[in-house]
């Protein structure tokens, strides 16, 4: 009911979106004190998931080059560790055919 009333109010005052959220200015994430960045030619693809099972979600970032994925472990308190390549079968994981 609250949403219906809010939508009606927005319609009445002439705003277009029926549901909108607002955000703070974007923050560039850092891992180990350095900006999280991917290798050339770019195309950073983030994922937020607990890959080490410590109860904190970590940042994984895929990239175009060789389809590699870097893991930035969550150290708590809003801090991410420096990135390490995700391993698969004991080697750096690669997702083939990224295109």
């Amino acid at each position: 009911m609250k949403r219906i009333l809010t939508s009606a109010l927005l319609w009445f005052i002439g705003s277009t979106p029926s549901f909108a959220l607002t955000f703070e200015k974007p923050i560039r994430l850092e891992g180990g004190g350095e900006p999280v960045r991917v290798e050339s030619p770019g195309y950073a693809a983030p994922c937020w998931a607990d890959v080490d099972g410590d109860g904190l979600k970590d940042l994984l970032v895929g990239q175009f080059r060789n389809g590699k994925i870097r893991v930035f472990k969550n150290q708590g308190g809003g801090k991410l560790a420096a990135g390490e390549w995700l391993q698969a079968d004991g080697e750096v994981a690669e997702v083939p055919g990224v295109w």
Binding site: V38, S40, G42, P46, V51, P96, V98, W99
Partner: protein
Amino acid sequence: MAGLFQILWGGPSGEFQAAEPLVGTDGEPLIIPIEGPSVQTENICTRPTAIDWDSDGDLDLVVGNFAGSFYLFTGLGNGKFEPTPQPIMSGDEPLRISGVHSDPFLIDWDGDGDIDILSGSGSGGVQWSENTAGVGKPPQLSSFQTLIDPGEQISYNTPTSENDLTGPASSTRIWADDVNNDGKLDLLVGDSVTLISIAEGLTLEQFKQKHTEWQKAVREASAEMNSVSDDQEKLQEALKRIQSLYASKADLMSEERTGFVWLYLQK
């Protein structure tokens, strides 16, 4: 091969196996079928998201592509999928983002109990398609609307360092979660950007002048190449000229193509 969907199976101790393509119940790798050369962009740059889209208890795959549309591979449980995908519709039309490179992330964005679709785009920014169906009903998706405007486009003749960047550039890839644990969904946005440094010894004014001249020369060489496309000898000469021009770009500038990850915290 481009367009397949790779899986890194996880193990009990947190380890992963090497990537392998997901296959359908026909034993063939899953891929979006194409019906002609005009639609080849439908099955490249595919981006999968696993979600129980049809509420049957099995994970399905909702995938994006270069064309900006979306397909559903219905999951049958235990990593098995129907081999033929269905286009995801908005009314009677295929659902499409504004721009190319659809990048589906599925979540109940508006808190009404059904699953909506968020997407990045080749042009940057974040878009969302509201599901108005309600809990447990077949999805009814609205056209995409802008959630976050594309960032300011960086001019190709403007030196840009990473310290100049204030937000995501182009080719956005997204993830939504409550990153700061305040009970509100936030957005992680990956991007692609070209950082440009002026060659040593050039002032900004000199760089801009030389870059304008360089662009003019490239345009002329390209026009020449198009005009002599039937003459192999002249065509090769034109190609060499263009290659030479691109090689000379290093005299003006250096470029670094990279990408960053940005966090939008919800207010």
